[in-house]
């Protein structure tokens, strides 16, 4: 198993820069998520780590060994593809044993390993079936079996659940995560689904336009996003922004929204011009005594909670409230924002302003 480090990794396809100077570290045994919208460079990053694509510049260390110009077969890794890429002309058993036979393992040993791995994944019953007749879930299991059978240094997975339907996806996500918990192998996983990333990942890298926007543990990224992009991408519904023109200064503890003062965590830097106040849905409370007001424009019932959309002079907000709280479209409501959880953004650059609350998470830069 291995620690993986990426330093200033860059990839250009002709004029197009797919990945711009990414750097991050994946610790040994971590379940690591590369998250971002389609076309953000996450898959390219993964393929460079696996050796299926060679970087334009930068370094990749697997187990303290520089491998950026080595081919995939020289890196001792396993890759799970989005469409599984099983060998269609041979049966399940041969698919799983392929990597073992490739490296010249003895036949008796191969049989033993295949039996062991297929027991772990619960596919003993289909070993002699051709892969073409398998269901999506079984294909997924075979692809996983083929990946783990060789006990490689690291696993790379490119949206492995993307081809499954929603209900089964959740089931497989659990299966995958518990498999990881059992084996403890370093895993790098690409997804565009933020919920999947939050659910399964030990750590997340959020990418956009080939740039690493933020890197950290899921809860930190959720609570203290580094940019408006991250704030918007993570969470369902995502963070709401109240946009305003104004100025804040170092040491300030409130912002002015159309003449109404809203308390925020103490800021540690100055900013002026277009700003945005970011607030998570569960940190908005309805309070008739609050001075900042808005009008309910829609409600969505979700069982225990409901999502209420509120129109304010500075943009629409989404609040997550208990379903027990009666709300009607058209109601005018007072909004109390939980001041400990707010983030002020520079709306021009999208960057979060450093405050006392997010200093620890974002402090290093």
């Amino acid at each position: 198993m291995a620690r993986i480090e990426i330093r200033n990794l860059r990839k250009e396809f002709g004029d197009f820069t797919a990945v711009q100077s990414s750097s991050f570290v994946i610790e040994d045994g971590e379940f690591f998520m590369l998250l971002g919208p389609s076309g953000c460079g996450k898959t390219t990053t993964l393929r460079m780590m696996a050796g299926l694509e060679l970087p334009t510049s930068g370094e990749i260390f697997i187990d303290n060994q520089e491998v950026s110009q080595k081919r995939a077969s020289e890196r001792d890794i396993a890759f799970v593809f989005q469409m599984f890429a099983l060998y269609p002309h041979v049966n399940v058993r041969k698919n799983i044993s392929y990597p073992l036979v490739s490296q010249g393992m003895k036949r008796s040993q191969v049989t033993e390993r295949v039996a062991e791995v297929s027991r772990i994944l619960g596919i003993e019953g289909i070993l002699d079936r051709p892969v073409s007749g398998l269901s999506g879930g079984d294909r997924q299991r075979v692809a996983l079996a083929r990946a783990i059978v060789r006990e490689p240094k690291a696993f790379f997975m490119d949206e492995p659940l993307g081809a499954l339907d929603a209900e089964f996806r959740e089931h497989m996500a659990h299966e995958l995560r518990s498999l990881h918990d059992r084996m403890g192998a370093t895993t790098v996983y690409v997804t565009h689904d933020q919920l999947e990333a939050m659910q399964m990942g030990d750590k997340i890298v959020v990418m956009n336009h080939g740039v690493v926007e933020q890197f950290g543990v899921p809860q930190d990224i959720y609570d203290w996003p580094a940019t408006m992009f991250v704030a918007d991408f993570i969470g369902s519904p995502s963070m709401s922004f109240l946009r305003f023109e104004g100025a804040v200064e170092q040491g300030g503890t409130s912002v002015e929204l159309g003449g109404i003062s809203v308390e925020v965590p103490r800021l540690l830097e100055d900013a002026q011009g277009p700003l945005a106040l970011g607030v998570r849905p569960e940190h908005i409370h309805f309070d008739d005594t609050a001075t900042y007001r808005g009008q309910v424009i829609a409600t969505e019932y979700l069982g225990t909670t409901q999502i209420v959309s509120v129109d304010t002079p500075h943009g629409a907000l989404k609040a997550r409230l208990s379903s027990e709280q009666p709300t009607r479209v058209g109601d005018a409501v007072g909004l109390r924002l939980d001041k400990r959880t707010l983030t002020v953004f520079d709306a021009g650059s999208g960057r979060a302003l450093i405050s006392e609350a997010n200093r620890e998470v974002l402090g290093h830069g």
């Binding site: 919208p37 929603a166 209900e167 995560r177 918990d181 565009h192 689904d193 933020q194 919920l195 939050m198 659910q199 543990v217 899921p218 809860q219 959720y222 609570d223 993570i234 969470g235 369902s236 519904p237 995502s238 998570r280 849905p281 569960e282 829609a298 969505e300 019932y301 979700l302 069982g303 225990t304 999502i307 959309s309 997550r320 379903s323």
Partner: protein, 253 residues
């Protein structure tokens, strides 16, 4: 009818696609009337700036909006929609959910909507019909189906994370004939009752899910997002407002 796949006419522009149902010889709509209707619908769906684009030059979300628009221009008495949002990405889906609901509320039209996505069913519907192998097992407002399911099947359709189903004997106090106890994740009180061990802590940001091992049964419950609990810790739990089901899966009230 709105289909799952967009089914637009690829060789026509957005405007021509929207006009198509109006130009049907049966309707004989006057030209300026067509013009006005297309403009209105395009505005509602926020595609008015794309009216003269070819249908194939649109993004997935835009195509789906055009295909919804094509159904809207005609003002039919009933709209039939077959998972119209399923091919869109999460952000857009959330946006269009509200949009569709608003359009429905404004026009007052009847909308029959097929979906496997429980969030769509809960948020958009005035009434939900739960189908099990072609049989309608429960019908009512989403809140009623969620809070008062008639069977195990109906109870598992709604709710995220899914309802926990355990043998009724796991907790004391089950009524006569109960085989299964159904516990929604929020129906589990922590800090009192019997002990279970935490298998995994899943932090989703706005909530944290606890995967518990309770008397050899898997239970998922939700807790405070910043809970200090970690895997291996012990937690006391007690059911509250549990549902009981008999051997056939029907609810015991």
């Amino acid at each position: 009818m709105v289909f799952q796949q967009y089914s637009l006419y690829p060789h026509l522009t957005v405007r021509q696609n929207l006009e198509f149902p109006l130009k049907s010889p049966l309707l004989r709509t006057p030209k300026d009337e067509i013009e006005r209707k297309v403009r209105d619908v395009a505005e509602v769906l926020r595609i008015d700036h794309k009216l003269d684009n070819k249908a194939t030059a649109l993004s997935g979300g835009e195509m789906q909006r055009v295909s919804i628009g094509r159904a809207l221009v005609r003002n039919p008495s009933i709209y039939l929609m077959d998972e119209p949002l399923s091919s869109l990405d999460a952000k857009l889906r959330a946006e269009l959910r509200i949009e569709l609901k608003r359009i429905q509320a404004q026009s007052g039209a009847t909308l029959l909507y097929v979906t496997h996505d429980q969030v769509e069913a809960m948020t958009m519907a005035t009434h939900v019909g739960v189908l099990d192998h072609g049989r309608l097992v429960q019908f009512g407002p989403p809140r009623e189906v969620y809070e008062n399911p008639v069977s195990i099947y109906a109870a598992t359709r709604l709710g995220q994370p899914r309802i926990n189903l355990l043998p009724a004997s796991v907790f004391a106090g089950a009524p006569e004939g109960a085989r299964t106890i159904g516990l929604r994740p929020e129906h589990i009180v922590q800090g009192e009752g019997e002990e279970g061990s935490v298998v995994r802590v899943e932090r989703l940001g706005d909530q944290t899910r606890l995967h518990l091992d309770f008397k050899q049964h898997q239970i998922i419950t939700v807790t405070d997002p910043h809970t200090p609990l970690k895997a291996g810790d012990m937690v006391q739990i007690r059911p509250r407002n549990a549902y009981y089901f008999d051997a056939a899966g029907a609810r015991i009230v």
